[in-house]
Structure formats: structure tokens, C-alpha cells
């Protein structure tokens, strides 16, 4: 976690961005990619997805399954029909000759961008599952350097997310790969108003709260806790960046085991700041059933 490169929320990506998405779980990967595709479709960008699967319909089916609802799923399927969302197996694109040619691959990306603009799209969003980089790590740096030049060109109307399944790379490899990018991309905050920021987390699933929970931001916390309900039975609330929380807010956080789907779930409170620990002791909430406070000293 230390010395992390800059993190950009996917919703804040601009033309010229060339960001790295290193995940170890599909929930996080899909949360980022679906937002990236959705924003692109809305902005009349062409989305080119160079997928790890060999069959594009499998990739589309995976994305559709991960979509938050039937409307979003229909939009994806529709965009795949029109070609605004183009899915191509990455092996076909980059490894057609059986061996990875960095120069040819960079040229191909450039051609995709040109084609999208020629087709009348307002821009191009590229994303690729680059876990194949394992196979030719020596030449891979050359490829990413080329990408950086392509997307870093002045006036370019394109952006890219390079996906890496971090389970396949050691820390040193990942660090080197990340260094080839402008930074990391992450999920959008589910709430941010200058007082409180709520961000989804994935390993473990939950929410990270930064800033202050008070009478004005508590409704957003309640909404976020209800929505996160479907994602898993247990929930981790990262409170390490919580600077303030009033008592009703704390009550909602420790009561999160009862919110959501109606099924009881275990809530893990991580990084509880000292002032919250003090209040939990005052109310004896640290022993609340369904709540586990990490690192609390009794």
C-alpha cells in the first residue's frame, strides 16, 4: 500500500489518460470497467475492449452479468450491436503472429483511435486485459512506452485503461508496470460533497469513509450502506480517514449489520479512530453483536 502511484477515479478520466487497473477480484474490475464503458457510451466515445477471453460474446456476457441492473445490461448489449462497444480478443489483436510485437501493437492502437474518430465518434476509450504481458515481459516495457507516447500526444482524443490481474504478478513486476502509466484508476466515489467521501472497497468488500459523518452527510451513509447490501454477506467499513462522526452516525455504522438486505451480516470496523473508540466504549457498542472492531484493546 505504501508509495502508491496517483489514483484517479474512473469518472474523472480525461483524454490523454493512460492508467493502470491492477485488481485481484472481478467485483472491483467490473465496477471500474462498467463505469468506464458507461461514461464512454454517454459521451459518444467508441469503446474498444481487448479482452482476455478468446470469444467476444463471452466477454460481453461477463460484462452484462456484472451490470448493476437490466437497463445497464441492455445498454451494453445494444452498444455491442452497433459497434460503439467493440470487443476483440487481445490475442487476436496483439499476438496474431504468435509473438508479441510491441511496435505493431502500438500502431494498431493508433489505428483504432483514428478509425473511431473517422467513424464520427467524439473520442476513443481503449481498455485491454494485459495480463498476457507475463509472456513477454522484456518487450512489454517498449509497448507501454509506445502507449504512453500515443495517449500522451497533444490533442489526442483517446484514453486507455490497462488491466492487470495482480494475482499473476509479483510486487516488483507490478511496480514496474504501474510506473509505465500515468497512475492507477479506481472506482468512483459513491458520495463526495466536500464534507464526506464514501468510496467502495473490494478486498474485503465494503466502504471507505473519509471526512465527517454528521446530520448533513448521514443520509448518504445510510443510502450507501443499503446499496452495498447486495455485494456480499459481510461488510468492512474502513474508518481510518474518518475525522468526525456524531453519535447517530456511529449508531448507523455499528448498526450496519442490520441494514441492507434484511439478512444479518457481520460488519468489520477497520481503522477505528481513537475518538470513535472512546464513544463506542461510552455506549458499550464495541461488543455489539454482529460488529467486529479490528485492533480494539479492551
Amino acid at each position: 500500500m505504501s508509495s502508491s502511484p496517483a489514483r484517479t477515479a474512473v469518472g474523472g478520466m480525461k483524454f490523454g489518460d493512460h492508467l493502470c487497473l491492477a485488481c485481484d477480484n472481478d467485483a472491483e474490475r467490473h465496477a471500474v470497467l462498467l463505469a468506464y464503458i458507461r461514461d464512454g457510451l454517454r459521451a459518444r466515445h467508441k469503446v474498444v475492449y481487448l479482452a482476455g477471453e478468446r470469444r467476444p460474446d463471452e466477454t460481453l456476457a461477463r460484462l452484462v452479468r456484472a451490470a448493476p441492473g437490466p437497463d445497464e445490461a441492455a445498454v451494453l448489449a445494444g452498444a455491442a450491436q452497433t459497434g460503439q462497444l467493440t470487443i476483440r480478443p487481445v490475442v487476436e489483436a496483439f499476438l496474431a503472429t504468435g509473438r508479441f510485437d510491441p511496435g505493431a501493437s502500438v500502431a494498431l492502437l493508433g489505428a483504432e483511435i483514428d478509425q473511431a474518430l473517422a467513424q464520427g465518434y467524439a473520442g476513443a476509450r481503449i481498455t485491454g486485459d494485459n495480463s498476457f504481458a507475463l509472456r513477454g515481459s522484456g518487450r512489454f516495457g517498449t509497448f507501454e512506452d509506445g502507449c504512453r507516447r500515443t495517449f500522451g500526444a497533444p490533442g489526442v482524443r483517446a484514453m486507455a485503461i490497462c488491466q492487470y490481474d495482480r494475482r499473476w504478478f509479483d510486487d516488483e513486476q507490478l511496480r514496474r508496470l504501474e510506473a509505465c502509466h500515468d497512475g492507477r484508476v479506481g472506482v468512483d466515489d459513491v458520495y463526495a460533497d466536500g464534507v464526506l467521501t464514501i468510496t467502495p472497497t473490494f478486498t474485503p468488500p465494503g466502504l471507505r469513509l473519509a471526512g465527517a459523518v454528521d446530520e448533513s452527510t448521514l443520509p448518504a451513509v445510510r443510502r450507501a450502506l443499503r446499496r452495498v447490501g447486495g455485494r456480499g454477506s459481510h461488510l468492512c467499513l474502513d474508518l481510518s480517514a474518518l475525522e468526525f462522526c456524531d453519535m447517530e452516525g456511529l449508531q448507523v455504522l455499528v448498526g450496519a449489520s442490520q441494514s441492507g438486505t434484511g439478512m444479518d451480516r457481520q460488519v468489520v470496523l477497520r481503522g477505528v479512530p481513537p475518538f470513535l473508540g472512546l464513544m463506542m466504549r461510552i455506549f458499550e457498542w464495541e461488543t455489539m453483536p454482529g460488529v467486529f472492531v479490528e485492533g480494539v484493546t479492551r
Binding site: 448533513s216 448498526g255 472512546l278 461510552i282 458499550e284
Partner: protein
Amino acid sequence: MNGLQGTTPGVETGHERGVLLHRALMYGSERDFTDVAVPYLRAGVKAGDAVVVITSAANTALLRGQLGTEAADRIEFIAQADWFRAPMQTLADYYDRTRRDWWPRGRLRLLAEPVWTGFTPLEVREWKRHEAILNVAFAGTPSTIVCAYDTSTLDAHVIVDAAHTHPELVDGHGARASEHFVDPAEFYAGCNAPPLEPPPAGAARRPFASGELPGLRAFLTAEAIRYGLPSDRVLPFVLAVNEVATNIIRRGGGHGVIWLWAQDGELLCDVADPGRPMEDRFLGYLRPRPHQPGSAAMWAVRLLCHIVEIRSGEHGVLVRMHLKLPRALGAGADGVRG
């Protein structure tokens, strides 16, 4: 008059198990004190009660001497100066120790000698109020609490109010009802009768409404630091004021005003709700039940401050929070559990 025998454990009957006995022992001499305390404690040891003594070093030595080591070793002695430091802290400690350590062993048999010197008039009033609150807070619990009052040294008003706050008095002849006992709610209301002095002209004033609490907190934080509140007390203070303000926004008149100033070694903060009065029946003195979060915020507010005064009436509500400022040379304040 039944004599002490009838109400001492050992002879205590089943129906008294869940009954609170709260008695004042007013003594003018060592003899008066030990005549009641020694048999009371011995009977508790014999009955297997949780026997606890909170008194001065002198009275502790006196009791140990008369009880003998065998009995004394089965009694928990707590130093008076450690226990009676700040009213809310003491109340919270009573709640904690009874439930965690004493009641699990059976009936609590406590001999406590509150401290009355070295406190401000406001603190003394709070200590008296807490004597009345014990009747409510521990009603229906298996506890006998005998509070010792030294009539040879204490101010008359302390003795008079002890007769108001204890349902029973006990002496060498036994226990009897206190004819001056006042219903705790009435005594509590009497503690709230004196009007609060208005804030001084130089007090900082700041109105607040929904959505404005982040700014209010930033203001409180900066001012608390400027007034010299120790850094580890700043956030608890801000939490307390924020909580009262939130209550006004959510359940009171919707908006209010705070005043902030320092006076006589204390940081004071008034939070006023001109909108509507608030019911104050031991508000924030009775510990909320664990695992049952409710509108129990005032319990926390009281624990986060030194003393909290509430005045409620036709002109709305005024909540005045007192926090101790450190004296010029060391000597820290207390009142917040950390």
C-alpha cells in the same frame, strides 16, 4: 425502629435481593462511624456479598484495625480521592464496577464516603444531585449503599441535603426512614432551579442551522485550542457541542446559537435552542442500555464534558457545557475517560 439487625445481610430475606438500600450514615465521632460500619461490613463478608469500602486513608486504617485482617482481606478498599474525582466519572465507574465486578458476586454492600472539599459550588451541587440520582440509577438492583457523612467537619448544607437524598438514615441504633427524604425528581429539579448567569459580553457568539455544523466544528476546534484546552480533549469537546447542536437541528427548534468563553479556569460553551423546551428527567444521567442505541446522546455529552447544566422552559433550552482548562503549571483536568 427495627434496629440494624433487621436489614443487615446474613439476615436479609429473599425479597430484598433486588432492592436498593441507600442510607446515610451521619457520624460525629470515630465511635459513631465504626459502630455502624464494622458490623455492616462483617455481616457482608459473612454473607459472601461483594463488600466495598471507599473512604479516607484514616477511616480505612481505622476499619482495617477493627475488622482484623481476615475480614479486611475480603473487602475491596478504594481510595476516596481516586473514586470521587468528577461526578460523571464516578457515576460511570459505579455503573461499570457494579455490573462487571460486584453484582456477579451477589449483593453489593458498599460503604462510601463522598468528598466535599476542594470543589467549586457547582461541583458540590452536582455531587448532591448524584446522591439523589443513585436512587434512580440503581433502583431495583441488589445493592446496599451506605454513605458516610462526618457531621463534625462538613458544612451544614451538605448534611441537610444528605437527609434529602437518602431514603434511610443509619446509626448505632439501626436504620430508619429519613423523614426529610425528597423525591429524586424533585431534588433534581431543585438543582436546576438557580438561573444561569448570562455569558459575559466578550463571549464569542455563533448561530447554526442544518448543514452548518462543519463550519461550527472548525470554529470550536480553533477556539478550544486557542483557549488552551489540551489537544486530546478538543475532539471530545467538539463531539459534545456538535451532539447538542444536532439534537436541536433534528428534534428541537431546527436552529440555535452557541456562545463560547473561558472563565475561572474553565472553557464554557452555551448551546441555546430558542425553539422549544426539552424534557429533562435525569437527562443523560441514566446509562443507556448496552446494545440498544437510542436517543442516549446526552449520556455521552455528559461524559465528554466536566459538568453539563440544562435549563429548559418557555424560552427554549440552554445547555451549558463546562470543561476544565489546565492550570498554568501542570495539574491536568479530568472528566473524560480515555
